[in-house]
């Protein structure tokens, strides 16, 4: 797919890949073998009829393709951009055994963009009301998936969002250059047109308890997402200029600090920015730092490139843009100046040892091999715990070791009757698509619950 050249794109916040033209999409769709038993569909957490929509593209029937796609996935413009297709559908593609697999994600994105740009978005017909009311807590990827599925089954859906804009991590976390916010809002508008009511600025657990919701609604879905960030707990971590990834990205994305001072939320624009971590969020932070004017944006990761949890495409984009990777480096301390601003990160040099529980080779420190790098901003992107607000104000809901809400993986049921949960609040930090997959399961579980409820 054509992309903005790296040297250009690090100076703007626009999306990196341009997307397919209709001709390119048809050309790519024609590569699909239309397998009798399509393996790709097995790989998709939301069971999209991949073979079917690709066939429509090859036949230039884009409208039919979109309709089919949206039967299973209400948010194709988002998923086409942020799903890890290489581990899900594309990895199963038969074409991929000898050649590059069919670019399923890009084709999905093409259809969604085509529909949006051609303003032909059609509102699916909604069945007769079941008379059941559902409350969705959190308008992120899990919540909007549940909302979309339940509204199409004839339930009345109200969605509550703590922040001033819906979208959750799609809006506060994932940067504009990876997922333009206009696309997210358009997909959410589509939900509203289908009858979902959205209440922003509404923190469930504070303004209303889950029990109060249960008085008014037949069932509740909790998709409250990520919570407090983890820190390294090393000396100097509270110096000025050190951010959690959540704070850095929330300032930049949700609060639009990249447009400061037009938007009034500030962000420290470092010249040498170190991001600690190796996941997608770390890549997002490092690439954001470049766009905020960093001369050197450095990823500090304690293992090697092979063990990095980020998607290949994200690592590749980061490398193209000139992000510096310091592998096998584990921060031990931050050092500051007399005004308490961070000036250096001190790292322990690591080597790879035996595999650990995750199957990845464990990093082992090399004695007396500490080194220091000059920096003026650091971003800690090593993960976060689930959001604490609902669990801490709902004493009868069962939680796990990390404060995650415990759910039945087959139905997303929690220990509290009528209450379901999914996404990061249940699993801990994971991906957008896994949250949407949980949303699919929860919607099915909730529908069954609602229809059997007396």
């Amino acid at each position: 797919m054509r992309e903005q050249p790296p040297g250009e794109r690090i100076k703007n916040y626009d999306e990196v890949p341009y997307g397919y033209s209709p001709e390119e999409a048809i050309f790519e769709a024609e590569r699909c073998l239309q397998c009798k038993n399509p393996k790709c569909i097995e790989g998709c957490p939301v069971e999209i009829d991949i073979k079917g929509f690709i066939k429509f593209i090859a036949e230039k029937k884009f409208k039919e393709g979109v309709t089919l796609l949206k039967e299973k996935n209400i948010l194709p413009a988002i998923c086409g951009r942020v799903c890890p297709q290489e581990e899900q559908c594309e990895i199963k593609c038969i074409v991929g055994i000898k050649n590059e697999p069919v670019a399923i994600g890009r084709l999905e994105r093409f259809l969604a963009d085509w529909e949006r740009e051609n303003e032909e978005i059609e509102i699916p017909s909604i069945p007769k009301s079941t008379g059941k009311k559902v409350a969705i807590v959190g308008a992120g990827p899990a919540g909007i998936t549940v909302a979309a599925d339940l509204v199409r089954l004839g339930h009345k859906v109200d969605m509550f969002e703590a922040l001033h804009q819906p979208g959750g991590v799609l809006v506060y976390g994932i940067p504009e250059f990876r997922l333009p916010k206009a696309i997210v809002f358009k997909e959410i508008d589509f939900l509203k047109q289908m009858g979902v009511r959205l209440f922003t600025d509404t923190v469930i657990g504070m303004i209303k308890s889950v029990d109060e919701l249960l008085n008014k609604y037949n069932a509740v879905f909790l998709g409250t997402g990520a919570g407090l960030p983890w820190f390294l707990e090393i000396p100097g971590e509270n110096l000025n200029g050190i951010y959690s990834a959540n704070e850095y990205l929330t300032r930049a994305n949700l609060m639009k600090a990249y447009l400061f001072p037009k938007y009034k939320t500030p962000i420290i624009r470092g010249k040498r920015v170190a991001t600690v971590g190796g996941g997608n969020i770390a890549m997002d932070c490092a690439r954001t730092a470049l766009r905020l004017g960093a001369e050197k944006s450095i990823i500090v990761y304690r293992r090697s490139r092979t063990e990095m949890p980020a998607r290949d495409e994200e690592i590749h984009h980061a490398e193209e843009e000139g992000i510096i990777f310091k592998f096998l480096s584990n921060p031990a301390a931050f050092h500051g100046d007399k005004n308490n601003w961070v000036k250096e990160v001190e790292c322990v040099q690591m080597k790879l040892g035996e595999p650990d529980d995750s199957g990845r080779r464990r990093p082992v420190p090399i004695p007396d091999a500490n080194f220091r790098m000059p920096i003026d901003v650091a971003v800690i992107a090593i993960g976060n715990s689930p959001n604490p607000l609902v669990p801490s104000t709902t004493p009868d809901i069962q939680t796990g070791k990390w404060g995650n809400i415990i759910t039945d993986p087959k139905t997303c049921k929690t220990s509290k009757p009528g209450v379901f949960a999914g996404g990061d609040v249940a699993t801990g930090a994971a991906t957008v698509i896994s949250a949407m997959g949980a949303g699919k399961i929860a919607a099915r579980g909730m529908h069954e619950y609602l229809m059997n409820e007396t």
Partner: protein, 270 residues
């Protein structure tokens, strides 16, 4: 969006603002806060709730014009809509019978201590409020405080009302003179809360401060409001905002508050 029902300048650069927010008014408890975004370009600003009326469905907060976003807020008039208003947030203040409670308020915190003092009074505590400002004309809500307190003591830097100096000086002198407080609560600027905590530390009186660290989301997600309490990372938005002032690492808080001074100057340029 919420509508402004009343907005009054109660002292130079200090405003009281009452909005229609019936759901929040029904749930608000003493010591909680709201997050306000005046218009789409503004920051998310945390504000201590100074009063509410569940029957009328209104919530009142006091704010100081200090940066770009609060200056924007100061331009708003009665009948205008605020872009975003979220709450109540944070854990409420512990309200029970302690005996004699000293409440220290400065700046927006004079409004902040008001509902706490009122609730503590209703629990049968003896209430002594310490209200401080640079000068007599910078004080506000004197009558409101006097109505619910057993005693209100004033401190002004220029000596125009009450003692000349700061409320923390008054607290310290009272303690040294053998006055007994069962609990001290301070709401206001960081430095004032720090000084109150230091004044009471030698006397071992539990001192609760209401931390106003920088916040963004305010709902337990971003981690901007972190502080260190007894060596552990805590978050003012969900673990607080109230902490024991003798256990807080003040050096970190005082230096972190200055992190955006340069940016504040840039955002003032027009």
């Amino acid at each position: 969006m919420v509508k402004i029902k009343e907005k009054t300048k109660i002292a130079p650069n200090i405003h009281s603002c009452t909005v229609e927010a019936p759901d929040i008014a029904r749930k608000a408890l003493p010591g909680q806060f709201v997050i306000i975004i005046p218009d789409e370009y503004s920051e998310r600003i945390p504000m201590t709730i100074a009063d509410w009326d569940a029957k009328k469905g209104t919530v009142t907060f006091i704010f100081l014009e200090i940066g770009a976003s609060t200056q924007k807020l100061a331009e708003f008039k009665q009948g205008d809509d605020l872009y975003s208003f979220t709450g109540p947030l944070g854990k409420p203040m512990e309200i029970k019978k302690f005996g004699t409670v000293a409440l220290v308020g400065g700046c927006y915190g004079i409004g902040g201590i008001y509902p706490v003092a009122r609730a503590l009074k209703e629990k049968g505590n003896k209430i002594i409020c310490f209200s401080e400002a640079r000068s007599k004309f910078m004080l506000y809500w004197n009558e409101k405080l006097e109505e619910i307190s057993d005693e209100v003591r004033y401190a002004t830097v220029d000596g125009s009302l009450g003692i000349k100096g700061h409320a923390y000086d008054d607290i310290e002198e009272n303690l040294k003179a053998g006055k007994k407080f069962d609990r001290i609560i301070a709401i206001g600027c960081t430095f004032m809360m720090y000084r109150v905590s230091e004044a009471s530390r030698p006397f071992g009186i539990e001192t609760i401060v209401s931390m106003n660290t920088v916040m963004i989301d305010g709902t337990g997600m971003c981690g901007a409001c972190r502080l260190v309490v007894e060596g552990k990372t805590k978050f003012a938005c969900v673990d607080g905002p109230h902490f024991n002032g003798h256990k807080v690492d003040w050096d970190i808080i005082l230096s972190r508050r200055k992190a955006y001074l340069d940016e504040e100057i840039i955002s003032q340029e027009r």
